[in-house]
Symmetry: C2
């Protein structure tokens, strides 16, 4: 887990540039992500995911592990480039060669987040980062799916009435391998633990539920131990291989969709495509009728090569 | 705006059943949504969107208008079916024939939310509901896009440092036609108004920023007036027609993607598709190589009819 990277890991500028190119679709991501272990951290906005991630980085570094963070969460202080600026920055790790932090906007990716995140993970893996933390907000169809595809998925909730229920409605119960009640020094932690356990019982699962106070580092060593334990367990049981297989198949489907759309455009021709869109826009054609028309050429097999 | 519905609007059971069938893909949605006016309400979880919607319903009903609500937000108390149940229910409107409330889960739709929401909107429009409020959470790539496609999009923020910045990072500045500072009786409302105005200035837009206290109904009449004013303005300027055109084109693209995927499966054959997925799952083939293989038959024009 402390293997030296196959490419110059020290060259952070080159890595950042490659990530940007892959995001814009001007460079291809490498094919494999097998060497890196991916930890997803998700939960509602305000649950303290970034603070927890930041505290976890310290524990990981103390163990001598190198770690990259991919923050996809628009509400995360990791995600830079905001207009008024963020107060919390990862100053702790700014001069640490063993930490690489990258934020991704939720918009503007060719093919959307469903393709952009696995692409970025593979770039980081190929650059030799053995641990990759993917922070996504636990609200939103695509974002929850991304977190659920991590090797180990950590769901962060807070004490307080309804938080476990909201996490359940957002689909987080099914994807969490480890649950963390962050801000556990506040009122209601016991109730939240009870709610979580009740809901998980209904889904027939028994993932660990940990307490943490990320702001003072409490519970972080235990979280790191739980991640290592989950990793060991799924490596032995074959679950890790199954997850990665499912992740690759997901990605195949996203890729096929993206390429099919390009293919359909090429088949119908730009003019026909534009005409159909114009007719739909003008309300002269329903989207369904336009789809029939555009796909007719594909059905007839009149598709240009390449 | 108070037209009688073309189908029996009183038959709520039939409407609910049709919505379920369309969600599951066992019935087709009607083609047009032109008769209904769609108001999107979005914002971060906890911003008070549901309370605001609930209060707005009262104002709308006092004006004699009939209104349907589509709640896509997993954190909304409108979205029923939660495991531990919600305390807040729309009891106020339970016996009101002029209100129809429907919640949609964020998962389990054929084609995803990007297709499920416009389908449901068209079902409600065809059933004669002249106003449709779509409540989505303002976090998540798909969810923000859905809200941005409404005829009038209302963005709800709260007083407090950073809320406007978070809304900006989530992409809400670009889509809001009206901004509401809900819980405006709390500290920081003036600062939030200032932040919002600063960010909007950078995007070169001047949408109205209203104050509201949804829990006691304050500011709701003004919100309804602002919605009516925005509606009148975009009807006159042609912007409404442009928005609806863009919405239909979006839907065409989603439909084409979904049909292409079915077509590609049919073209490659179920066996070939399964074999490719197996190889990808086993790591013997990269997703990109498998996509090439699966699409080869389409490229060669070897596609079965229909």
């Amino acid at each position: 887990m402390t293997d030296r990277p196959p490419v110059a890991a020290g060259d952070r500028t080159a890595l950042a540039r490659l990530l940007s190119q892959v995001e814009r679709g001007t460079a291809e991501a490498p094919a494999d992500d097998g060497a890196a272990y991916v930890v997803g951290i998700t939960g509602a906005p305000g649950a303290g995911k970034s603070t927890l991630t930041n505290a976890l980085l310290r524990v990981v570094r103390d163990c001598g592990e190198r770690v990259a963070v991919l923050a996809v969460d628009p509400t995360s202080p990791f995600t830079g480039g905001s207009i008024l600026g963020d107060r919390l920055r990862m100053q702790d790790h700014a001069t640490d060669d063993g930490v690489f932090i990258r934020s991704m906007a939720t918009r503007g990716h060719v093919g959307g987040l469903a393709l952009a995140v696995p692409d970025a993970v593979r770039v980081l893996a190929a650059a030799g980062w053995p641990w990759i933390i993917v922070e996504t907000v636990g609200v939103g169809q695509v974002e929850v799916e991304i977190a659920g595809r991590a090797d180990t998925c950590v769901v962060v909730v807070n004490p307080g009435w309804g938080d476990a229920v909201q996490a359940s409605k957002a689909g987080l119960m099914e994807i969490g391998d480890i649950f963390v009640i962050n801000k556990a020094d506040r009122d209601g932690a016991a109730q939240t633990r009870h709610d979580l356990a009740s809901i998980l019982e209904l889904t027939d699962r028994r993932p660990p539920i940990l307490d943490a106070v990320a702001t003072d580092g409490r519970g972080l060593t235990e979280l790191w131990a739980a991640i290592a334990e989950h990793r060991a367990a799924i490596e032995v049981s074959g679950e890790l291989a199954r997850r990665r297989a499912a992740r690759r198949v997901d990605e195949l489907r996203s890729l096929v969709s993206r390429r099919l759309e390009r293919l359909a455009r090429a088949a119908a021709g730009d003019d026909a495509w534009r005409a159909a869109e114009d007719d739909v826009a003008a309300g002269e054609l329903t989207p369904a009728a336009a789809a029939d028309r555009l796909l007719a050429s594909l059905r007839a097999g009149d598709v240009p090569g390449a």
